[in-house]
Symmetry: C5
Subunit: 357 residues, 5 copies
């Protein structure tokens, strides 16, 4: 119980530097860097992985739709090269590698810049990963900290195997299914949270005396706060995309974004509900402690209330006065023992009636 | 008390699938499937139940108003057939069979898509059932998980027996009375909730010591949270229908939707009120526990405070010193007993005055 | 304390019936029914009471302003006759006799329909009565459950005796003074609530140990919740009348409605303030209980801490060892008694310093 | 502690009277009535006090700017005379003498009517005084309940001695400095409140056991609630004046109102902050009580836990069995005493380690 | 623990003075006053420090961009001279030296006036410093209470060494990087707050019994309240600058202000999150105290429950009745001791099973 479960503090925002300076603020230390390119249209689809940004640049300008997935944010140089090639604003580049950037959307004339957070549980700890997406005419570029394959894995297959309508659509639909995949994962995380809450409920009502749940509840509450901070802005962002009058999003795609918006609201509602339930948990726990204390006090009171008067009586007849007539009766002792027994039984009945036993 | 009252967890949203994929996410396992068609105009009315979707399709295109009530969401195929015949968007079809979809309204050019939740208590447990309604020119199609007859039963009779104005109106009025019937049931559920709260109140004030109400209150709170999540969006949905500028809703029907809106607000107010009352309940319960502890402590304190000093005195005269003059007086023992009695009575009076007895 | 103070449950909304069906949902069982008509203009004023609705109908169409006050909602038939004569919407008629209808305003072309709640205390219980008002060109019709004379009594006299400006104004001013009279009564109710809160405060701080205030506070809280639900919508309703662009309200009357709006806000503020105070009361009560427990514990601790060690000492010299040299000194007993006295005094001083005595 | 600190209840609004009826609802009983007139322009300034309203009327129509300060609201007749002379609406006159009127602003074509509350502490009690201001072309009339000189004293001198820009400006600037003076006083009141909170904090942490702070905290909370109700509307009122398009406020004065608006927001923020701190205080107090109880329990537990077993041992060797070999050893008594000492010391060490001592 | 950690009260707003009067309301007593001027364009840059305001005036009117940094607000005269030279409104001058002024923005035709608060921790205490910025065509003037070099230090170097784009931009960009530097410091402060919270958490769960954390938590809460009051308005201010239609902010700079707005929101979110966590802390602390009390009570109950009955039995056989047959058996004593041992062990097992040991 003495082990710190808190992750190492690391909140080094790039304070004091020139605005537009690209500084990686994440916790990854590996130099892993790879760029995955999926280039497709209705008929064809190529899938290649590069480790050099120069080879990627030609893809951006074809007629096909291109998904460029950059894994690893430490290679600031490469990201800058890509960004300059595609004419992005310096502040966009800064935010791509700043893992403390909160979720947001910035609309530019030629492209949309979206910051999202990917959430998943890893070894029972909530991990929040920074994800940036830039969508322009004919391309979507995604930036992740780590090659966390599972979130986009299914989606990749869907494009290559030409399932669904993705191959018939443009980059606006690609952006939608990317965001949709991330949002779907929010549900998994919310579910895990729900299960954790129910586990604590079970412990509360069945686990008996042993555990101090204060810490568990506190940790759960902090997890919910972090989750909320990452997920809540998603709602606003999706709504902004749906209602944008940018030419980048074509009208017939808006239905999909409206659907995504519904999902975002639903996750937010789940988290709000869990927040309320955690607050209740704490109250419940307090009342459980009080109930337990009540029971302890009852035992003490019953024992003390029964035996203290009896002990007093025994004390009386242990006194050494010369003249204590009762002591000399032949059956005095047995009579006294009888009286004590009656007192004992009477008190038991009294407590029974008071429901203390 | 060890039995788990929690329903089996089942939250399998269709994560990772292509948007527009129809996946049934409910808990029903029966293959029951039936389609009920009520086709009516001012003069005539037919009522038929089919188990094959093909036979239903011709009804959609007559001059009459048609209510198609689909029971059972597992037959995804049939629902798709119907949807395609009526030209619905794939996302609509996905939401019809996704029982986790929250209440919402989507307006399309030719039809309105409404998701509602039906609420009822079954064996003291709150059941929330998924209900989708699609209203187009000349038809309303409703989709339910289970043939839960009672909600729409009365309404069915009303159409067949030509009570009220329904036979003189179009599908916009039909949608209204369907939503109205569901909303009316919300009141029943709210009432049951109110009664449960009053039961706990009674237990709190009259039921004495025995029960630990913590769990009951927690369960009630969770029920209210679930209710809230299902009912609150209804308000917004009805308001959207009332204010729509779609041609599907004719102007003279808006008064009815305004009335429905009033009802929706009223349910929401009830639930909010019950929420506050449940929060108070917990507080009350805590104060009741504290009061009880107080009473236990008083008993203990009175007994201990009276007898501990007396026992001490008895102990003193039980000592074996050679020279203890008091022991040898003829009436010493009786005098001491008198003194003890005075102490006893004095203390009783003291506690009486302090209102501890 | 075992008597149930809760009124009989009766929440039978007319669930499942055709919209527009008039069903009386109140609790009155008397068949009392009367219609009071005050017909006035600048010069003349007549005041008649009828028990037959037919005789009332001619009044509605004169040049004078007519106030028709219907007492008793059980006579659904008569109300329907009146409503049809004046061309009201069926939903209006339904709401007039539905006592569960929340306060609201509906604007129609020819008339305004307002639902308000009249509040008063009867034998220490808060009574909430349903009041509907329909204002058209030249008339205001009011519907009450019971001939609760006092609210409108003063107003009736004012019209007959031609006090104030009412005889010089039209039905829009009449509606204003009717709503004003009801709102004025809200203040009386709020005042009574304030006094009840102060009574509990007094009991809390001066009433000593005896009472368990939990229940009283809970009842007060529920009363406030009910009050809030009845009074809060009034604010919105009055504001809607003030800002209406209906021809029914003439411009120079708007100042009066603005004033009424001020009053409505003020009542709402009072109730909100009382709500907060009740919440504080509960907290205060909890802290008072804790304080009391503290005091009980102190007494117990002082007594036990002083006498337990002394009893031990006495116990030691009550042992029967052969060789206990102290026992045989001539003054041993007196010395020991002195030592015990010193211990006793020392402890008293210690507790004095700790402020436990 | 038994003395009631609550002021006498007096909430007699003029319920049931004709709207526009002037009824003084304050608590003053003195018949004091005086009218102070300051008439000024850039060059000249006269300052006169009258007790008759007739003499004041001519001032209203000069070219100069006139400040008429009416002290005492009981003289309803005089106020009516003044109001009629200046053509004010009857509802304005009603509100001037209705001390329960909440702060508000009413804009009329020729004048602005503002209700404010003056706050000050008198003998440690918060006094809230009704202040009405009517600003028209060339005049500002203020109505106070009592000649509370200090609030406007400084301001009066400033006009007479021609300090600041007031003599160069019109009545719109005069209104500003009047409201500014009142708002400045809000800060003094907020400060006093802040000091009271800090006093309770000190008592909480340093004052030891003696005091029951529950009541003090409750009184503070009620004071804050009253303060809030009086001060919060000021923000809205000033904002309305700043943004008015009435000709009465000239454009170059708006900067001053914007500044006043800033001040109003600041006071509101202070009060909100104090409210939160008072809520914390209650929590802190509860935790302090619990901590204290903990300490009392520790003392009791230590004493009881040490001596109860020792007393038992002494009891054993006080038994009168014939055959108890230990009793007859020569050093038995001393050995036992040693053992008891060891137990005593051992327990002390144990509690030391548990940090109970 | 008796030391007051509260800073000396000093809230002397300039109450009662003429609006526009410059009164320094801060706590600095040093007469330090210096003016630092950085005058730059794309090619050149000069950096000079003056102690006389007259020498500074010529800089304001060059073609270059000028940053004038005034340290020390006591020299009201000099500030007035500067302000009059640049044609500022008297209320602006008043607010520059009024350290109680809350953060705000005022837009004038020729200049923007911004009030911000600089936050930093000094010896573990939160210091809030008043900072005013006036931005006009070609200049930004900043006013600080103290030459707190670190906040702007890095920025100063950046201008002189021509890093970043600042030398290529106008005063609108200069204002941005100044506000950006202050906002960056908010993150540092929020981080420190976060660490303090985690320290208390650690103490709560690991630090054992000794500390009373009530006071620490209260101080933390007050710190958060002060922080909130200083930081929250920043969000609104930056948003106002971004959306202004003043010519002073050129369009291509707006992206930077949007970025700054993101940062401001992020800080606000942090502080809100910490506020919630502090509220949880208090709850946790209460539950920890209750848990501890539970444990103390358990020890007491176990000891008392075991030994009180045993002591009673010993008492019985210490009585002096003539006829107590048990006393005379040869092995009576040993049998009784065995029985007592069995009772002792039985009780231990019982408590073991109840998990009290």
């Amino acid at each position: 119980m003495k082990k710190k479960t808190r992750p190492a503090r690391k909140r080094r925002r790039n304070i004091g530097s020139v605005p537009g300076t690209m500084t990686y603020t994440g916790v990854r230390t590996e130099e892993d860097f790879s760029i995955e390119v999926i280039d497709y249209d209705r008929e064809n689809c190529t899938h290649t992985v590069f480790d050099n940004v120069e080879k990627v640049l030609p893809f951006c300008t074809g007629n096909k739709t291109t998904w460029i997935n950059v894994n690893g944010l430490r290679n600031v140089k490469a990201i800058e090269t890509l960004g300059k090639h595609l004419n992005w604003h310096p502040l966009v580049l800064e935010d791509i590698v700043d893992t403390y950037q909160r979720p947001k959307i910035d609309e530019f004339e030629d492209y949309l810049f979206v910051v999202f957070k990917m959430l998943y549980y890893q070894e029972d700890r909530l991990v929040i990963e920074h994800l940036s997406l830039v969508m322009g005419q004919g391309y979507v570029v995604t930036f992740q900290e780590e090659p966390q394959q599972d979130v986009f894995d299914d989606l990749r297959k869907r494009i290559i195997e030409n399932r669904g309508r993705v191959r018939n659509e443009k980059s606006d639909y690609l952006l939608f299914i990317l965001l949709d995949a991330v949002t779907d994962h929010y549900f998994l995380v919310a579910e895990t949270l729900g299960e954790k809450i129910e586990d604590i409920e079970d412990q509360l009502f069945e686990g008996g005396d042993k555990a101090d749940l204060t810490r568990d509840i506190l940790l759960l509450k902090k997890e919910t706060l972090r989750m909320k901070r990452s997920v809540f802005p998603a709602r606003e962002i999706v709504s902004r995309i749906e209602k944008t009058d940018s030419d980048l999003i074509s009208a017939h795609i808006e239905n999909f974004y409206r659907d995504l918006y519904d999902h975002a609201i639903q996750v937010v509602e789940y988290i709000e509900m869990y927040r309320e339930m955690i607050m209740s948990l704490m109250e419940m726990y307090m009342s459980t402690i009080s109930n337990r204390m009540n029971n302890i006090m009852k035992v003490l009171t019953v024992i003390a209330t029964i035996f203290i008067p009896l002990t007093f009586i025994a004390g009386v007849y242990g006194m050494n006065f010369d003249n204590m007539p009762e002591l000399h009766g032949k059956y005095s002792y047995f009579i006294l023992m009888g009286v004590m027994l009656l007192i004992f039984i009477g008190m038991l009945l009294y407590f029974k009636r008071k429901k203390w036993l």
